[in-house]
C-alpha cells in the first residue's frame, strides 16, 4: 500500500483569454488505508486534484509522490501503466464500455494487465458476489440500472487490487438508496481490504462516511479534519 503526497501543486486552465485557477499551492499527504473525502463547491479544484493524483492530468508545478515515485514526471505510457496497476477510478457517469457485459467490463482491466483467463474469471466471480451483482453478470450496461452500473464500475476499479481508489462524484447519478449502498460498499472495501479511498463530492451524505474531510475552495485547501470512523455507517 502506498501513501500519496502532494507538494505545492499548481494548475491553471485557460478559457479564451480568461485564466482559471484549478489548484493553488495545494499540499497534502494521504496515508495508505485512509478514507478521504474532498469536498467543496463546483470549481473548487477537487476534480483537478483527483485527476492529478490519478496521473490523468499533470500539474503546472509541484510534486506528486505515489509511495516513493514522482508521478508528475512520468511519461504518458508510464502513467498508463501506473493507473493500470496501482489506481482504480470510479467516475460520476459510470463510464462502462457499452459493448461488454458486466463481467467483461470487470475483467477488462485484468485483461490489459495480462492475467490468465482462469484467474480473471475467479476474481470477477468473487467481486461480483461482493458487490451484489451475481446473476446479472452477463447483462450489458444498457440493461442495468444506474446503481447496478455504478457497482460494476466499483467492481472494475477494485478487482485489480489497486492501492488507491479515486472516485469523482460517484453518487451524483444515484438515488439515495443506491448511494447509501455504494458508500457502504466503499467503506467495507476500505475496512476489509485496506484500500485507500479518495472521494471527490459535494454530497453531505457522502461526506458523512469520511474519516478525513478535506474542504477546498478556489483551488486551495481550506480545512482538513479527521473524523470519527464511518459515522454515517454506524
Amino acid at each position: 500500500m502506498s501513501s500519496i503526497k502532494c507538494r505545492n501543486l499548481c494548475k491553471t486552465f485557460h478559457q479564451g483569454q480568461e485564466t482559471i485557477t484549478g489548484l493553488d499551492q495545494v499540499s497534502l499527504e494521504i496515508a495508505s488505508g485512509e478514507f478521504v473525502c474532498l469536498s467543496g463547491p463546483s470549481g473548487s479544484g477537487k476534480t483537478t486534484l483527483l485527476n492529478a493524483m490519478g496521473g490523468l492530468d499533470t500539474p503546472d508545478s509541484g510534486e506528486i509522490l505515489l509511495g516513493e515515485e514522482r508521478i508528475d514526471l512520468l511519461a504518458k505510457g508510464a502513467l498508463a501503466d501506473l493507473r493500470l496497476h496501482r489506481i482504480g477510478f470510479v467516475f460520476q457517469a459510470y463510464n462502462l464500455i457499452p459493448v461488454l457485459t458486466a463481467r467483461e467490463n470487470i475483467e477488462f482491466v485484468m485483461q490489459i494487465q495480462g492475467l490468465h483467463a482462469a484467474e480473471r474469471h475467479q476474481r470477477a466471480r468473487a467481486i461480483l458476489e461482493e458487490v451484489g451483482l451475481e446473476g446479472i453478470e452477463d447483462r450489458r450496461p444498457a440493461q442495468l440500472s444506474g446503481g447496478q452500473q455504478q457497482r460494476v464500475a466499483v467492481a472494475r476499479a477494485i478487482v485489480s487490487q489497486p492501492s488507491l481508489v479515486l472516485a469523482d462524484e460517484p453518487t451524483a447519478n444515484l438515488d439515495s438508496h443506491a448511494a447509501t449502498h455504494l458508500m457502504q460498499l466503499f467503506l467495507d472495501l476500505n475496512l476489509q481490504h485496506g484500500v485507500t479511498f479518495v472521494i471527490a463530492t459535494h454530497d453531505e451524505g457522502v461526506m458523512a462516511y469520511a474519516r478525513r474531510l478535506i474542504r477546498m475552495r478556489d483551488g486551495c485547501i481550506v480545512s482538513d479534519e479527521s473524523r470519527q470512523a464511518g459515522s454515517a455507517a454506524s
Binding site: 490519478g54 490523468l56 498508463a80 464500455i97 459493448v99 477488462f108 482491466v109 485483461q111
Partner: protein
C-alpha cells in the same frame, strides 16, 4: 497490452453498434471489390484475346529468323535449317511446341482476279501443336503434311478471287535469284478466321512443297516457339538464346509486336488506374465511417486510457475495426466475383459490335479471365490501402486527452 483476441472481440462488437452504417460501408466495399475484380477479369480477357489472336496469326511467343528478315521479309533472308543444338534447346521444359515456316510474299491469280498475299509453307502437324491454325475449315480439308500439294485459302479471299473449292489458281513469287517462279495449286480447303484480314491476306501450303517451288532446299523464314504463358518467357528464353547461333536472331513476341506489348502495359496501367479510382471512392467512405465511429466514442477511448490502456492499443483497436470491415467486404466481394465471373468464362457474345472489336484485333466472344493472383493482389491492395486510410482516425483516437475525452457526452 490487451490480448489480440480481446481486441478482435471489442472491435467486432463495436463494428455492429451502428449496424446500418456498417452495412452501408460493407456494401460499398463489396461492390468496389467486385467491380475491381470483374473489371480486371474482363480487361484481362480482352487483352488475352487480342494477344492470343495476334500470336495465333503471327509469331508464337518467340521467333527465330535471319537477322535481316524483319527489315526485308524476302526469300533471300532465310535460315538454312536447324542445328542439332537448337533442336535440343527446343526440347527443354517450358516450351509447349515449335514449328518452322517458310513465309514469302506472293501473288495469287484465279481465272478472274489476282491479289497479293502472304504465302505460308507450314508443317500442319507441328502447327497444330502450336495452335497456329488459320481457322475452322468450312469447306474441303486442311493440309495433311509438309508435302501436301494443295492450297488452303480464306473464305474472303476465295470470294474476292471468284474461285472455289477444287478450282486451280496460280501462285507467283520470287526465288533467291530474284527470278519469278510460279506454280499451279488446287484449292483443297477454305477456312474462316475471326479476323477478316487473315482470311484475305494469307494462304497455306505444305512447307516442302513451297521449298521445292522456290528451290530453296531446307531454308526457313521463321521458327515460331510457344511457351506456357505469354506473360512469362523467362523459364526457357535464356536457354534458347544460348543455343541459337550468331547467324540468326531470337526475338520475343513483345519485340516482334511492340504494339501488342504496349497494349499489355496499357492494360496493366488501366487496371491500376481503375483500382485506384474505385479505392479512392471507397477510402472516403471508409475514413468517414471510422472517423465517425471514433468521434462518437471519444468518451470510451478516454475511459480506456484512464483505466490504463496504452494509446498504441487504442490505435490497434481502431485499425482492427477497419481490418474486420475490409476483410468481411473482401470475402463477400471475392465470393460475389467468383459467382458472377465463373459462369461468364465460357464466353460473352459480343457479335453485335464485331466490327469495332476487329479493329482491336479481338474476336466476337469475350472470355473474362478470373485469376487467383488478381484476386489476391486486389485483396492485398484493399487491405493495405484501407488500413493506411484508417491510420489517421485511429491515430487521433489514440491521442485523445483522457480528461477531455471523458468530459464529452
Amino acid at each position: 497490452m490487451l490480448p489480440l483476441a480481446a481486441i478482435i472481440k471489442l472491435a467486432w462488437r463495436n463494428l455492429w453498434r451502428n449496424y446500418r452504417r456498417t452495412l452501408i460501408m460493407l456494401s460499398a466495399i463489396v461492390v468496389g471489390v467486385w467491380a475491381m475484380i470483374f473489371m480486371n477479369a474482363v480487361m484481362r480477357g480482352m487483352v488475352d484475346d487480342m494477344i492470343r489472336s495476334a500470336i495465333r496469326v503471327l509469331p508464337g511467343h518467340a521467333q527465330i529468323h535471319h537477322p535481316l528478315y524483319r527489315d526485308d521479309p524476302s526469300i533471300v533472308n532465310s535460315m538454312t535449317g536447324l542445328s542439332p543444338e537448337l533442336e535440343n534447346a527446343l526440347a527443354q521444359p517450358g516450351i509447349v511446341g515449335w514449328s518452322a515456316r517458310l513465309r514469302v510474299p506472293a501473288v495469287i491469280a484465279s481465272e478472274r482476279e489476282s491479289r497479293g498475299l502472304v504465302l505460308l509453307g507450314i508443317d500442319p502437324a507441328t502447327e497444330a501443336a502450336l495452335g497456329f491454325v488459320p481457322g475452322p475449315i468450312v469447306e474441303g480439308r486442311s493440309l495433311e503434311g509438309v508435302d501436301d500439294r494443295g492450297l488452303v485459302l480464306g473464305a474472303k479471299l476465295v470470294e474476292r478471287l471468284e474461285t472455289g473449292l477444287g478450282k486451280r489458281v496460280v501462285v507467283m513469287s520470287q526465288d533467291p535469284q530474284n527470278n519469278v517462279v510460279e506454280r499451279g495449286f488446287r484449292v483443297v480447303g477454305i477456312f474462316e478466321a475471326e479476323l477478316q484480314a487473315q482470311e484475305e491476306q494469307s494462304a497455306y501450303v505444305g512447307r516442302a512443297t513451297l521449298q521445292s517451288m522456290l528451290g530453296v532446299g531446307q531454308s526457313l523464314s521463321e521458327l515460331a516457339v510457344l511457351g506456357t504463358d505469354y506473360r512469362d518467357l523467362s523459364p526457357w528464353f535464356a536457354g534458347l538464346q544460348a543455343a541459337v547461333g550468331s547467324d540468326v536472331e531470337l526475338l520475343s513476341w513483345t519485340e516482334l509486336d511492340p504494339y501488342m506489348a504496349s497494349m499489355l502495359r496499357v492494360q496493366d496501367g488501366m487496371i491500376l488506374i481503375f483500382v485506384g479510382v474505385i479505392f479512392a471512392v471507397l477510402s472516403f467512405g471508409l475514413v468517414n465511417t471510422i472517423a465517425m465511429a471514433v468521434f462518437e466514442r471519444m468518451r470510451e477511448f478516454g475511459l480506456m486510457q484512464a483505466l490504463g490502456m496504452r494509446p498504441i492499443t487504442i490505435l490497434y483497436q481502431v485499425l482492427m475495426e477497419s481490418f474486420l470491415l475490409l476483410a468481411l467486404g473482401l470475402v463477400i466481394g471475392n465470393l460475389l466475383a467468383v459467382l458472377t465471373i465463373r459462369p461468364l468464362e465460357s464466353g460473352i457474345d459480343l457479335s453485335g459490335v464485331a466490327d469495332g472489336l476487329e479493329m482491336f484485333g479481338m474476336g466476337t466472344t469475350l472470355y473474362p479471365s478470373l485469376r487467383i493472383v488478381d484476386m489476391v493482389a486486389t485483396s492485398a491492395l484493399v487491405i493495405v490501402l484501407g488500413l493506411l486510410a484508417s491510420l489517421l482516425p485511429a491515430w487521433r483516437a489514440s491521442r485523445f486527452d483522457p480528461i477531455e475525452a471523458l468530459g464529452k457526452t
